[in-house]
C-alpha cells in the first residue's frame, strides 16, 4: 500500500484539528461516477461548486474547489472502473472524498509529477491526459491525502478551508 500526504504550509494546525475531531456536523452529498462516462463527467463537480456558491463561499475558493473536484472526477471517469464522491460541507471548510473501484495506481509519487500520464488515446483526444490532474489538485487544495495500491480501490480526500 502506498500513501501520500500534502498539507499546505500554514494549514498544519487546522488540518490536524480537523482529522482528530472528524467534526460530526456536516452537510453530506453523494455522487456516483461511471467508468468512461464522459457525457456526465463534471456534473458532480458542478453540483459541489453550486452548493458552495449558494452558501456564499467566495469566488476564489469556488474556483479552487471546482478545479479539484473536476480533475478528480475526470480521473475516476478516465482511469478507474467508476467510483463515488462524497462531499462534506462544514461551516468553515469542505472535505471531499473520492473513492474509485480500482484498479489502483502503480506509483503515486510518479503520478504527482507534472506531465506523467497513463491516459489512453480516447482520453487524450478529448483534451485530457496532460499529466496535470493530480498536480492541479495539489496546487488548489489545502490538504491532499491519497491511499492507493495496484489492484485495489484508490482513496483520495481533500480539505479546502474557507
Amino acid at each position: 500500500m502506498s500513501e501520500y500526504w500534502f498539507i499546505r504550509s500554514g494549514f498544519e494546525k487546522r488540518a490536524e484539528s480537523f482529522f482528530q475531531k472528524k467534526l460530526a456536523e456536516a452537510f453530506a452529498c453523494d455522487y456516483e461516477i461511471g467508468k468512461q462516462d464522459f457525457v456526465n463527467a463534471g456534473k458532480a463537480a458542478a453540483a459541489i461548486k453550486f452548493s458552495l456558491k449558494r452558501i456564499g463561499v467566495n469566488a476564489e475558493i469556488l474556483r479552487r474547489v471546482a478545479i479539484i473536484a473536476y480533475e478528480a472526477e475526470i480521473n475516476i471517469t478516465a482511469h478507474a472502473n467508476g467510483g463515488k464522491i462524497r462531499s462534506n460541507i462544514h461551516p468553515d471548510l469542505i472535505h471531499i472524498v473520492f473513492e474509485d473501484y480500482g484498479p489502483g495506481m502503480e506509483d503515486i509519487e510518479k503520478s504527482m509529477l507534472p506531465g506523467y500520464s497513463t491516459a489512453n488515446d480516447l482520453v487524450r483526444e478529448m483534451g485530457f491526459g496532460a499529466g496535470l490532474g493530480l498536480p492541479n489538485i495539489k496546487k488548489n487544495t489545502d490538504v491532499l491525502h491519497i491511499i492507493s495500491e495496484k489492484g485495489k480501490n484508490t482513496f483520495l480526500e481533500v480539505v479546502v478551508f474557507f
Binding site: F38, V39, A41, G42, K43, A45, A46, K49, R63, A66, I67, Y70, E71, I74, M126, G127, F128, A130, G131, L132, G133, N136, K139
Partner: protein, 115 residues
C-alpha cells in the same frame, strides 16, 4: 475589446444568435489541454481552443468564461451548442489556427489572462 470585434477580427461565425456582442473581453487564453485551461485561468477569460467535445462546456461550469472560440474551422456537435445556449455562453468558430487567431487578437490589443 468587445466580443463583436473578436468575431470581426477572426472572421468568425457565431454558432447561435442572441448573445450580447457588446460585452468587454478583458483577456484571453488558448489551449487544447483541459488541465492547462483549468490551471492557467485565474480570472474570467475568453477561451480559444480546438476542443469541441462537451467537456469544454463542463469546463466553463468550473471557471468563468466570456465565450469560446473554436479554431481551425471546428464546429462542435449540436448538443454542445445547446448546452452553451442554456448557459448563455457565446460560441464562435473561426477558420484560423490557434496561433494565427491569438496573434490577430494580440495585435489588436487583447492580452493574456493572468496565469
Amino acid at each position: 475589446m468587445k466580443l463583436r470585434e473578436v468575431v470581426e477580427i477572426l472572421d468568425g461565425k457565431l454558432l447561435f444568435e442572441g448573445v450580447n456582442l457588446e460585452i468587454d473581453i478583458p483577456c484571453a487564453f488558448g489551449s487544447d489541454l483541459i488541465s492547462d485551461i483549468l490551471m492557467s485561468t485565474k480570472e474570467p477569460t475568453l477561451l480559444l481552443t480546438g476542443l469541441v467535445n462537451l467537456q469544454i462546456i463542463r469546463v466553463s461550469d468550473m471557471i468563468d468564461l466570456f465565450g469560446i472560440v473554436f479554431v481551425r474551422g471546428k464546429i462542435p456537435p449540436d448538443e454542445v451548442i445547446e448546452m452553451a445556449k442554456e448557459r448563455n455562453l457565446p460560441l464562435i468558430s473561426t477558420k484560423y489556427t490557434l496561433f494565427k487567431s491569438s496573434g490577430l487578437l494580440y495585435n489588436h490589443g487583447l492580452r493574456s489572462c493572468k496565469i
